[in-house]
């Protein structure tokens, strides 16, 4: 380990819409180690999926990478042409999408769609590709793969389709797998199976996985490291256990408080975070969480905090973690 596969530096992504520039991702910097499972959590519109699409250069008009670099194998993906990206997508980095129902083309067989990727990138014969497809379908545990290879997506259930999507993503043994809420559209039992599958795949192939989700349960089960995003900014990142045990950012704390406790007899009420997600169109340089945060200071309205080291591999972008601010607050508390 300790071998960085992906380094994202100061990434800025905006959508230039009719009503104005929507700053979906702002100044995001992070790195991913080879073989780890990194979770990115955040609510809808926090920019987590946009980060993945930016890595793949799949942002749709009017979205654009405004600034920053995405270093993968020492090459900046943000500067690559579409043609150059075609050799990376599906071969070195592949992606699984949220809705397996609509992510497979309805007019081609599942086998055809997987084989197509292999043929495109590895220039093998169709029969060779089909052999590989069969192995892949078995790897993702699709029963009676031999007949299923010729099935159309509509003949598959939701879970099977997501398995097929995973097989598709793994077709060329990519170094990195981006999973954009892969279980959101599936029911709970299938979710668990999908997570087992992804974990096994990581174990067997040592594929790096970035898992975007809003499900903290999934994160706690799957991830080595977690990043929390809010309003297009990275709020906190830490090892998985630290996020749950000693969250640093008020937003992370709020997020954890809003998980229902299913312990027997627990009659505790959920504490949702007050307010609503930030408006990303109005220019605002303060902390995006300032309007909902219980600890907002004047400082928070003026600038977003840099990331402070608050533990081993644990960074938090909150002014409260600034030692100077902390000292000041302590002083005031003593008076």
């Amino acid at each position: 380990m300790n071998d960085t596969i992906l380094q994202v530096n100061n990434l800025e992504v905006s959508f230039f819409t009719h009503v104005g520039e929507v700053r979906a991702v702002r100044d995001v910097t992070f790195s991913v180690e080879k073989g780890e499972i990194l979770g990115i959590v955040g609510e809808s519109g926090s920019g987590k999926s946009t980060v993945l699409l930016a890595i793949m250069s799949l942002l749709q008009h009017p979205g654009k990478i405004k600034a920053g670099e995405i270093l993968f194998e020492n090459e900046d993906l943000a500067k690559k042409s579409n043609r150059e990206m075609q050799h990376i997508r599906g071969r070195k980095i592949s992606m699984i999408f949220q809705d397996p129902m609509s992510s497979l083309n309805p007019v081609f067989t599942v086998g055809n769609q997987i084989a197509e990727t292999i043929i495109t990138h590895e220039h093998v014969s169709r029969s060779e590709a089909n052999k590989r497809v069969l192995e892949l379908l078995e790897l993702v545990r699709i029963p009676s793969a031999k007949t299923r290879i010729n099935s159309y997506p509509h003949e598959f259930s939701g879970g099977m389709r997501q398995r097929a999507m995973i097989a598709l993503a793994l077709a060329c043994s990519p170094q990195m797998l981006l999973a954009d809420e892969p279980t959101t559209a599936l029911d709970v039992t299938i979710q668990a199976q999908m997570m087992d599958l992804l974990r096994d795949i990581r174990k067997e192939t040592n594929t790096t996985i970035i898992l975007v989700t809003h499900d903290l349960g999934v994160v706690s089960e799957m991830c080595d490291r977690v990043q929390v995003m809010y309003g297009g900014r990275l709020m906190e990142e830490a090892a998985c256990r630290d996020i749950f045990d000693k969250p640093g950012h008020p937003y992370t704390k709020g997020l954890l408080r809003s998980i229902p406790n299913v312990k027997k007899g627990s009659r505790e009420r959920l504490k949702p975070i007050d307010g609503s997600p930030p408006d990303l169109i109005t220019p605002f340089d303060g902390c995006p969480f300032a309007f909902r945060c219980p600890h907002t200071m004047n400082l928070c309205m003026d600038s977003c905090s840099r990331e402070w080291e608050i533990g081993e591999m644990h960074r938090c972008a909150c002014h409260l973690c600034n030692p100077e601010v902390k000292a000041l607050l302590d002083e005031r508390g003593n008076e």
Binding site: G90, S103, T109, T120
Partner: protein, 306 residues
């Protein structure tokens, strides 16, 4: 599959029988007959004519004779053109209309679909605007204006194309363009909107995420889905184009089926109306069947129910 087609053929026969019956009833319901126009004929001549063409028979007998004839593709003689059989008229005029229609159909498909795709890919850019303007004009301008305009400008003023007949390939230019105009514009617009809809689908994003070259994404993954609604329109359109258009044939003086059809209605030429209607209905029914078969080839979600 075979069973399905056979079943559909039976239903086509039933449809044609109904068309035949309704046409017969409507012809008889309209007052007047083939010999009541023009100058007044003496009563005995009229009687003799009606007797000759079996118009004095009881209605049910006329009907039965019609159906019997239609079943063997024999619609009897024309009432207005002495000694000309309806089936001969069809046999002469249909190939003319069909040849012209085929040229128009090729124009529609070869220009409409590619330019529709182009417009969709260059959405809100110059090619899209040009295509949209063209499509709007094509749909808004009626055939008689388009045909007359082509005839006047290119035929009579510039002398680039002949003004009538179908003797050389040049003769096909004017009428086929005027015949294709509306359908071309419609197919273009349909392809564009269908393509735009498909390109926003998740599976297109998946295709791109697989690292497929853009042309494979467009021409394999998007096009096959986008063609489904286009095929729906092209089927019945083919039936319409192949059987000729009265307006185009009249403007360019072409002895096709469309002209016969309208003239027959004006003349109350019962047998010709019957023949052309049945013929058109048969072609339309076959084209619709062809569309349904094409559907199943394009979209595996559509299955024939045997």
């Amino acid at each position: 599959m075979t069973k399905y087609i056979l079943k559909r053929c039976v239903s086509i026969i039933v449809t044609l029988f109904l068309v035949c019956t309704i046409t017969f009833i409507m012809m008889k319901a309209v007052p007047g007959g083939p010999f009541t126009t023009e100058k007044n004929l003496p009563q005995n001549v009229l009687d003799a004519l009606e007797a000759k063409y079996h118009l004095t028979d009881p209605l049910w007998k006329q009907y039965v004779d019609y159906v019997k004839g239609a079943a063997t593709f024999d619609f009897g003689p024309s009432f207005k053109k002495d000694g000309v059989m309806v089936s001969d008229m069809l046999a002469q005029s249909f190939p003319v209309s069909a040849k012209l229609g085929l040229v128009a159909l090729i124009i529609v498909i070869l220009l409409g679909i590619p330019f529709g795709i182009l417009a969709a890919l260059k959405q809100n850019k110059l090619p899209d605007y040009l295509a949209t303007i063209f499509a709007t004009l094509g749909i808004a301008i009626p055939t008689f204006v388009l045909g007359t305009l082509i005839l006047y400008v290119f035929g009579s003023r510039l002398g680039w194309i002949p003004t009538h007949g179908l003797d050389s390939w040049k003769c096909y230019i004017g009428p086929s363009i005027s015949l294709a105009g509306f359908s071309l514009a419609y197919v273009l617009r349909l392809t564009r909107s269908s393509m735009l809809g498909v390109c926003g689908q998740d599976y297109i994003r998946t295709a791109r995420a697989k690292g497929l070259p853009e042309r494979t994404v467009i021409f394999k993954h998007a096009l096959k889905n986008a063609l489904i609604p286009v095929v729906t329109y092209i089927g019945p359109m083919t039936a319409g184009i192949m059987t000729g258009s009265f307006v185009t044939e009249k403007i360019f003086a072409i002895p096709g089926m469309g002209k016969f059809y309208v003239e027959a209605i004006n003349n109350r030429d019962y047998t010709v109306i019957m023949g052309t209607t049945m013929f058109y209905a048969a072609i339309a029914a076959v084209m619709i069947l062809a569309v349904d078969i094409a559907y199943a080839c394009l979209d595996p979600r559509i299955k024939f129910q045997d």
